[in-house]
Symmetry: C2
Subunit: 123 residues, 2 copies
């Protein structure tokens, strides 16, 4: 495999922590990230950007203030910019995220779950 | 399922033609597209943008002028802007693409394989 090819499943298998997005690769000034999710996150908003979730395994609930969006494998949902949301998973979820570089996972909320973007080890 | 949730596999199952990217959703001014690939495309360049391929099934070869990049399921590769490339698949490949809105599949090459971006039917 070329050293500029990344494999989604290999990347996820190297990750142990939840709520810690790792950068898989970038396209222009956007990042494609992988993340493992378990439990309930924090209510937050990204005032300046949409955020894309693509679920790879498990069932992810994106709580919005007026409804829950339930995502299964291969489901894609975009949280529009400025919309308050709180992800929740009762069993581990593996997902892809797409968002502009510099997007912080907890958005405007901050707090203990705020994670700096992690880099994967070299393949 | 909410009407703003898209499923990657459902989308692909509704598509019959090759080399015809369909827009699954958008994040800001970027599109997430699904595409079926079979045969050899045309050598082309995107002078102004990177292009991301994520293979879902099958084996996709991205021919570059100095090497071939071979991608299997869950492999991700970004063709940097300005780099001439030509995708090829000897059996059908299903893939995701990420690129800025308005990116044309044949880039600077044009020709018979040029496809306007297709929209999926409503879910």
């Amino acid at each position: 495999m070329s050293d500029d090819v990344r494999n989604v499943l290999t990347a996820l298998s190297s990750m142990t922590e939840h709520w810690q997005p790792h950068r898989l690769t970038s396209i222009n000034d956007y990042d494609l990230k992988v993340v493992k999710i378990l439990g309930e996150f924090v209510w937050h908003t990204h005032p300046d950007t949409d955020e894309l979730f693509l679920v790879l395994s498990g069932e992810l609930t994106i709580q919005l203030r007026d409804r829950d969006v339930v995502l299964g494998p291969q489901d894609v949902f975009v949280v529009p910019r400025g919309v308050e949301h709180c992800p929740r998973a009762t069993a581990e979820v593996q997902a892809l995220l797409i968002e502009p570089q510099g997007t912080v996972n907890t958005g405007d909320a901050g707090g203990d779950l705020t994670s700096q973007l992690r880099e994967l080890d070299a393949p």
